[in-house]
Structures are given as C-alpha cells and as structure tokens.
C-alpha cells in the first residue's frame, strides 16, 4: 500500500497527449502536455488519423517526463487513471492502452475517467467543491449544463442540440480567416468591437436549458457572404464582438435559468471555451447580480484546455467511490453523462 495518494493520469482524447502526477486529488506535481495544434492547423481542424499517430509518438516521453518532473517513481504511485471517453476513438485508444499497460506492469488499480468530469475537476484546483452544484461545461465538442446533487453524481439538464460553442467559434473563424482553434483570437477581436449586427440568440426565450448554435453560425456566414457580394468589407472586430455577444448571452442566460430551477451552492465554469474572457466576465457580472448567494469556481485559464491534471483530480474522487476498470477497458467515444429525468 502506497503511503502517498499519488495518481498517474493520462489524457489523449483529442489532439493533446498529456500525462500528469496528482497528489491528494488537489496538488499538481507535474502536468506534461504535448499539443498537436501546429500539425492540425495545416488542415484547418483535427484529422483523427493524424492525431492518433502523434499520440503514439509522444506517449512514453510524456509518461517519463511526468514522473521525472514530479520526482516520483512507480512504487510511489497509488493508482493510474485514464480518459476513456468521450473523444476521438483512435486518440483515446493510445491513452487507454498505455494506461492499462502501466497499471498492469506495476500492479496498480486503473481508474476510468469521463473526460467531461475531468474538465469539471479543473476547477477543483481553485477551491473546494460544494454540493448541490451546477456546472457549465463548454468546449469544442460539448456545451452542457450538468447538475450534481452530490459528489460523483452527474445529470445533464441542458445541452446543445447541434454545434458545440467551441465548434461554432472554429467555423466562423474559418470565414474570418482565423485558423483553428479560433476561440482565443475571436475573443481578443471581440474585446475591440461592438455588437453591431445583433445576431439571433437561439432558444434564448424557450423554457428549457438546451442550446443551439448552428442558426447563429449560419446568420454570421450569410451576413459576411452578402457583404462580400456587395463588395463591402465588414469590420472584423464588430463581427467578432457580435458573434461572441450572442454566444455569451445565451450561455449566461441559460445558466442563470438553470440556477433558478436548481437551487445549488456552487457554479463551476470549465472546458476549453471557459478560457473566453467575454464569458468569464459576463458570468462574474450575472452571478453577482442574480445569484450572489451561489459561489462560482472558474477553471484556471491554463487548465481549461485538455490536460491530464484535471483527469487526475477527477480520478481521485472516482477512486474514493470505488471506480475501477478491468483489463478489458475500451475507449468509449460517445461516453455521456445521463440526461436528468424530466
């Protein structure tokens, strides 16, 4: 039995190969992240087979470096954890396979971790979690409101019916000539422009907690194309600001409505799009105004993207609840939290 509570965590669900060592579920001893962004920028988005090939090139370097940087060795570890979904199947398989091998070789328990729970637990590095809790998880692949009545219980109460918010950023980024991932640049441009175009706020007034971003994306693309045909060039800062205002309005309003319907002690903001300054500022403002009794934890900027530290933090809780994978663990690309019963 190891004396220290150390978890070696793996994350390879998309285009980052990451391995981390986490102590007591809250302390990052190392968090190695090898990103493939430069590679996929050649193609304007993540190409799954290319991503899988990069993961296998980097997996053992990331493991070795994570241990070295943490100053620990295999006998010090308590468990191994790995993202087994959701994500790209070929990418997930490299992490799942490597994690199984390390756990097997050193007689360690293996903890299967849901990538979305991982994103949520990035916020655990900011402060303690209090339940019941609501989370707004926004990334390139997901946009969902997750209700947690207590620790280790997740229910989706709202989700996107088409594109994820981050996906919409990448698609309109392409129209503006911004390469994937476009979120950061659009966020910066938005800060320098005005909401001049008043794009639609989809489903904003509907009495549910779901999202839709494909209508906004189409309205944006039509606006730009129509101007192109007239030979008119629109102000890119105003376009970015108008798009972002529409996204942020819908995300913030649905989140406030979720908090009206579900009395919680805490709101978590996490996922790649949680790094968006427009969204962070808006939620700060709205929470102070409408839900000042609910505390908010925003995932740290450098842990909003995919990383293994967040997987290790989630795994520490999963481990306490007895989650263990057998050697037949497989990647589950479509893994989802359950939808809450209506």
């Amino acid at each position: 039995m190891a004396e220290r509570n150390l978890i070696l965590a793996f994350e390879t669900s998309c285009d980052e190969t990451s391995v981390a060592v986490i102590e007591d579920g809250t302390k990052i001893l190392s968090n190695i992240v090898a990103t493939q962004i430069d590679s996929h920028q050649r193609f304007g988005g993540v190409v799954p087979e290319v991503a899988s090939r990069h993961h296998i090139e980097w997996i053992t370097r990331c493991i070795d470096q994570a241990l070295t940087e943490a100053g620990v060795d295999y006998p010090d570890l308590m468990a191994v954890a790995v993202t087994y979904g959701p994500g790209l199947v070929g990418s997930l398989l490299v992490g799942v396979t490597a994690a199984k091998v390390v756990a097997w070789a050193h007689h360690l328990p293996l903890i299967p971790v849901n990538h979305m729970a991982g994103h949520l637990y990035a916020a655990r590095f900011v402060g303690e979690f209090k339940y019941p809790q609501m989370a707004l998880l926004v990334s390139g692949g997901h946009t969902e409101l997750v209700y947690m009545p207590k620790e280790h219980e997740y229910e989706i109460v709202g989700e996107t019916r088409d594109d994820a918010a981050g996906e919409a950023y990448d698609k309109i980024g392409r129209v503006l000539g911004v390469n994937y991932p476009a979120g950061k640049t659009i966020d910066e441009w938005a800060a320098q422009g005005q909401d001049a175009f008043h794009f639609p706020r989809a489903m904003e007034k509907e009495d549910n907690l779901d999202f839709s971003f494909s209508g906004l994306k189409s309205a944006f693309i039509n606006t730009v194309h129509n101007a192109d045909q007239r030979g008119e060039e629109l102000n890119k800062y105003d376009l970015a600001a108008s798009f972002q205002q529409s996204v942020v309005d819908v995300l913030a309003e649905k989140t406030m409505r979720a908090l009206d319907q579900y009395p919680v002690k805490q709101l978590i903001l996490a996922g790649g799009v949680a790094a968006n300054h427009g969204l962070r500022d808006r939620l700060d403002h709205d929470m102070a105004k409408y839900h000042s009794n609910v505390t908010m934890l925003q995932a740290p900027l450098k842990l909003c993207g995919d990383n293994a530290a967040m997987i290790g933090a989630a795994a520490a809780v999963d481990y306490r609840h007895g989650d263990r994978a057998a050697w037949d663990l497989n990647a589950v690309p479509g893994l989802m939290f359950d939808r809450a019963k209506e």
Binding site: D38, S39, I56, E57, T60, V96, N330
Partner: protein
C-alpha cells in the same frame, strides 16, 4: 530470456510467451473483435498461466506493421509502453515477415505475404529462406493487387502467396500468373511463437520513444497537404506547452 510477443496487425490477435526458444503459452483469437478489449486480458491470463510476473520479462517483440492502422497502433502502444515502463528490450518485426515464417525453411520458393489494404490495394513484401535464414527480397510496400501480380508473374521461379484472399481482393483479377500459387488459408494466420523466435536474437531498438508502427502510408490529409506545399519539410509538429 523471457519474451512476450504480440501481433494485432489484422483480424487475428495473437500473443505468445517464449522462454529460451521454447513456447510456454500462446493464444490466438480470430473473431474480428476489438483488439483493445482482448489484448491486455490475454496477456494477463497467459502470465498467470505460466506464473510470470511483469517484472520477470526481458524482451517485448511486436509485429510493427503494416496492417490495420488501429491494430498496429494497439500492439505498438502496448509494446513500447511496456518496454519503457519495465525498462526491458523492445524489438519490432514486420507483420508480413511474421506470416512469411509460416513457410518451412526448406522451401526455396519466393514467399509473398499480403494483407488487404482496401480499395483494391494490398500490403505485401517478398521473402525467401536462404541457408535457414529468412531474407527480405523486396521490402514491404503498399500497392495495387494487380500491380503485385504483374510483378510476380515476371519472377523466374515459383512464388507462393500467403494471406486471406478477401472478396474485394479476389475481384481485382481473374487468374493468378502461372508461376504463382496461393497457400492454404491456415498459412496466412500469424504465429507469435514465430514472431518471438524472429525477435529473440535481433538487436533491440536504441530508443523507445520514437518507436512507431510501420504504416507504409502517410495519411490522406498529409498527402494532400504535401501536394499543395512542396518543399515544406518541418519534421516535428508537436510541441510541449
């Protein structure tokens, strides 16, 4: 020397434990199921049967491709991670060579193992036993089945094809050239005992980190990109952040 040999290049999944050239245990599944599910339990089970612990291992030998991209990645990820984490020797052997070894060393035929690579293409190489050593005559490559048969028809000696002749490969041609024959299907199933023997006295890889499968094809996305960007020769597109 205690050797673990793994091959998940195609439909068959095979694992063997070999000690000093003796086969101790082997399992082959040929059910077209998911190698990711069955590989680790199979390894675990065989280790229990022969009463080895992971730390006993001296060497991992893996069929490095060509084959199904996902398949060769599962075997290569398993092998390189195991070698790295236990600090043991790692050897990669051509997945086609493993199949070629099913032919007796007394044969002097040209041995041509092949795998279906879809769209009428195959992965294939040419091997021959010379003085009890299996020599690679033509290196493993990706080519159209029709091109392969044209080339084999011009060889001035008997050629034996080893592999599973799927319908989509069969549809590519009418008859085999006169000097070419197809081995019974059993000869196309890889034996990881043969793989272990092939890898036992071969030098281990110098560095484990760069060890990757032999895909023999760049991805379609990269091929298209290279056409549009001639002369771009950046090697490494991944960086630590």
């Amino acid at each position: 020397m205690k050797v673990l040999a793994i091959d998940t290049s195609n439909h068959p999944m095979s694992v063997a434990l070999v000690e000093d050239e003796q086969l101790l245990a082997t399992t082959t599944l040929n059910m077209v199921r998911n190698h990711s599910i069955y590989l680790m339990p199979t390894i675990d089970n065989l280790f229990k049967l022969v009463q080895w612990t992971p730390a006993d291992l001296d060497r991992v030998v893996v069929a490095q491709g060509p084959g199904s991209y996902t398949g060769i990645r599962i075997a290569a990820t398993t092998a390189k991670t195991l070698a790295d984490t236990l600090k043991v020797a790692l050897v990669g052997v051509s997945s086609l060579e493993v199949v070629a070894r099913n032919v007796l060393p007394t044969s002097d035929q040209v041995i041509v193992p092949f795998f279906d690579a879809r769209r009428g293409n195959v992965f294939a190489g040419a091997y021959q036993w010379q003085d009890s050593r299996l020599v690679n005559l033509i290196e493993d490559q990706h080519l159209a089945m029709t091109t392969l048969l044209d080339q084999l028809g011009r060889v001035d000696r008997p050629v034996i094809l080893l592999g599973h002749l799927t319908k989509r490969i069969q549809d590519q041609f009418d008859d085999l050239p006169a000097n070419v024959s197809l081995a019974p299907r059993a000869y196309g199933i890889p034996s990881t005992y043969q793989l272990a023997l092939a890898g036992e006295d071969r030098p281990a890889v110098q560095a484990i980190d760069p060890f990757v499968p032999h895909y023999l094809r760049i991805t379609e996305a990269e091929a298209n990109w290279q056409k549009l960007h001639p002369g771009e020769n950046r090697q490494n597109y991944v960086r630590e952040v």
